[in-house]
Symmetry: C2
Subunit: 375 residues, 2 copies
C-alpha cells in the first residue's frame, strides 16, 4: 500500500513480536517462520516482546513500558498474537491491544474478509475490507460509576471526533482505490467491479456522534476533489451508507455487495467478527493496525484458551496478517506469494485445522504453506 523507505533498506527489518496469550503463542511463531521463508521478502530481525494477561498476572503489567519503548525506538513494524480477557473486572488490568493501538497511534484497523474461490463458501462469496476506526468511540474507556438510591449507575463516554473520522474515512477511500487498481491489473479475473465505500453508523439514534462520523467520512471525497482542483483521486469510488443493525443483516444476506466498509471502533469490531463467519472461520481472518508510519499485523481471532497449547489452532489468520503487514510496509510481491500459498492450501483442503473441519495440526498447516512457498 504505502511505499515505505524500508523497501530500499539494506539492513534487516526489525519486527516486534508479541505473541501475548493462548494460541497467540502458537500462531505467531508460524507467521514468523513464513516471513523468514518467503522468496523475495526482506531480511527480518525478530524482537520478542512481552504483553498480555498472563504477563499481567506475573508482573502486574499487561503492557510493560519496555515493550512500548522498543516498539517506538527500535522496531520498523510489529505483530501481535491474541490476548485473554479476565472474566471479572481486575484492578489495574487494561487491555494491552487497545493500549498499543492508542500509544502507537495505529488509527486504522484494516480487516480484509475474503473467501477462497473454489471452496464451499463460493455461494456466499465475500471479498470486502472492513476499515475500523481504532482509537476512539467507546474504546477511550472513560467510565464512571456511582451509587444512587436505586442502586449503581455506570456511564461510559463514546467519543467521535471530526479529526479521527475524517482520517479513517480517507484511509477507507485509499483502500478502495488500491483495491480497484489491483482489480484493474487482474483484469477479467476480478470478482468485483465497482469501487465503493459503505459508511456504517447508527445516526438514526446517535444523530450527533454518528452524525459527525457520517458527515466527516462523506466530506473526504469532496475535500479531495477541491484540493485537487476539480479532479479528485477518489472520483471513481462511489459511496453509500448502512445502519449497523441492517449492516450485520445484509452482510449475511448479500455479502457480495460490499467492497470497503468503514465503521466507528465498536461497530467495526462487531461486523468484522460477523463477516469472519462467512469465510468459514475466524481462524482465517487477518488484520493490520495501521498508522501513518507504523503497522502492526494481528489475527482477528482471540486467544482461544480452550484449545491453547494443543497444536490445534489455525495459523492462517496470523500468516495472512504477516502478509498484510508486508503489503503495508511496502512489499506487495512477497505478500501476494503468501496469499496465494494460503489460498492453495485452503482450496486443496488436505491440511486444515479442526475449525475448518480438518484434522491437521498448526505445524502441519504451517508446513503445507511453507512447501507451497518453496516447492
Amino acid at each position: 500500500m504505502s511505499t515505505s523507505v524500508l523497501s530500499k533498506a539494506t539492513r534487516a527489518i526489525k519486527l516486534g513480536m508479541m505473541p501475548a496469550d493462548g494460541i497467540g503463542r502458537e500462531v505467531l511463531p508460524s507467521a514468523q517462520r513464513v516471513l523468514q521463508s518467503t522468496p523475495g521478502a526482506p531480511k527480518f530481525e525478530f524482537i520478542q516482546l512481552a504483553a498480555g494477561f498472563e504477563h499481567f498476572q506475573k508482573t502486574g503489567s499487561a503492557l510493560p513500558q519496555e515493550t512500548v519503548d522498543r516498539l517506538k525506538n527500535e522496531c520498523d513494524g510489529a505483530m501481535f498474537g491474541s490476548v485473554s480477557s479476565p472474566s471479572h473486572k481486575v484492578e489495574g488490568y487494561s487491555s494491552p491491544i487497545v493500549k498499543l493501538r492508542k500509544e502507537l497511534d495505529l488509527y486504522a484497523n484494516i480487516r480484509p474478509v475474503v473467501g477462497v474461490r473454489g471452496t464451499k463458501d463460493d455461494e456466499k462469496f465475500i471479498d470486502s475490507v472492513i476499515v475500523r476506526e481504532n482509537t476512539e468511540c467507546l474504546y477511550i474507556k472513560s467510565e464512571t460509576i456511582e451509587s444512587t438510591a436505586e442502586g449503581q449507575v455506570a456511564k461510559a463516554i463514546r467519543q467521535i471526533s471530526e479529526k479521527a473520522s475524517t482520517r479513517i474515512g480517507k484511509k477507507a477511500f485509499q483502500v478502495a482505490l488500491a483495491r480497484a487498481e489491483m482489480r484493474a491489473k487482474q483484469g477479467s479475473s476480478a470478482t468485483k467491479q465497482g469501487a465503493n465505500v459503505t459508511i456504517c453508523h447508527k445516526s438514526n439514534v446517535l444523530s450527533t456522534t454518528d452524525g459527525l462520523f457520517r458527515t466527516s467520512v462523506r466530506s473526504v471525497k469532496e475535500n479531495d476533489k477541491r484540493e485537487n482542483g476539480g479532479e479528485g483521486l477518489f472520483e471513481q469510488i462511489t459511496m453509500d451508507e448502512q445502519l449497523v443493525d441492517s449492516m450485520v443483516y445484509r452482510l449475511f444476506r448479500e455479502p457480495h455487495v460490499f467492497d470497503v466498509v468503514v465503521a466507528p471502533n465498536l461497530y467495526g469490531d462487531i461486523i468484522s467478527d460477523g463477516a469472519a463467519a462467512l469465510v468459514g472461520s475466524l481462524g482465517l481472518v487477518s488484520s493490520v493496525n495501521a498508522g501513518d508510519n507504523f503497522f502492526m499485523g494481528e489475527p482477528v481471532h482471540g486467544s482461544a484458551p480452550d484449545i491453547a497449547g494443543q497444536n490445534k489452532a489455525n495459523p492462517i489468520a496470523s500468516i495472512r496478517s504477516a502478509a498484510l503487514l508486508l503489503e503495508y510496509m511496502g512489499y506487495p510481491e512477497p505478500a501476494l506469494k503468501i496469499y496465494s500459498a494460503v489460498d492453495e492450501v485452503i482450496r486443496e483442503g488436505k491440511y486444515l485445522t479442526p475449525d475448518l473441519g480438518g484434522k491437521s495440526t498448526t505445524s502441519q498447516v504451517e508446513e503445507a504453506i511453507l512447501k507451497k512457498l518453496n516447492p
Copy 2:
C-alpha cells in the same frame, strides 16, 4: 406469559395501532385483520394513532402527545409498524419508537428468532429469544458536540444501571423458564433441551458499564434463590456469557447453541438483526416491547421505503408480533394458532413474498394465513 386481568375481561380489548411509515402501513393492517379473525381471540377495538417521520414532516411532531395520552389512558396494548429515518440530522426530530419505549416504560424488547422446521433453513436451525434492554445504553440519547482547535468533537453517554440490568436479567430468566415449560409440554418434539441464558456484553473493554450489566444479570439467579429460601424458580436454568463480537460470529456458526440471549440495548439491536438473517428474512422476525403491565407488538424490520406502497412487503413479522402480543397479554391459545398458521404457510412455500424468493403480494400471504386459521 403473564396472565393478565384482561383474560377475564368481557369488554373489547383496546389496541392502539401505529402503522407509522413505509411498509408499516401495509403490514399493520394485515396483523389487525388476523387478530380479528383468529378463533379464540378476544374481541378487539382498534384505535388508529399517529406517529412517524412522515407525520413529523407534516406536523412537526413524530409522536403527538395525543398518541401517548391515549395509549396510556385508553389502550390495553399496542402495535407499532415501522419508522423511516431521516438520512441527515433533522432539527427537532427524534425517533418515535425509542421515545415510546421510554414513555411507556417498555423496558424489554423480546425478539424470538425461530426457524421453521422442514424448510431449507433446517441446517442452521435457530430457536432462540433475544431479550434486549430497551431503555438505556446509548439510547438515552445524551449527546453533546463542541468545536475544538482540531475540529468538532462529539460525545454520547452510554448508561448502564443496576436497576435496569437486573430487571432485564429477570425478564430473560422468566422467558427461559416459560420456554422450558413449553418444551416440557411438547415432549419429545421439542428442538432444544437445556434452558440457558447467555449474557452478551463487552466487559473486556467496558469493564465498568458492561461489568455492571454482567454482574447484575448474574445476581438474578442467586437473589431469586435467596428470596425463595434456597429453592429458586430459576434453578434449572444455566447461565453463560459471550462477548458481543464473538456472539455475532457464533450466532452464525452455531445458532443452535443459543436459548435465551440477554443484551444491553445496542448489542441487542445488532444481534437480533443478525439472527434474523438466519431465518431467511427480516420480514419474518417479530418482537414485543414489554413493560410490567403494557405490551406493544412491533416487527423487527424497518420501513423499507424502496418497496413501500407496492403490496410486496412480508406481513409475517407483523402478524407474528400480533401473536406475541396476544401471548404476553395472557392469550396463549389464539397466539399458538397464529404461529402454526404462519409456519404452515411458510412450510408449504406456495404464498411467499419476494424477500423469501416468492412472488406473492402482502395481501395474498395475509389471505393464505387467514385461510389456515379458518379453513
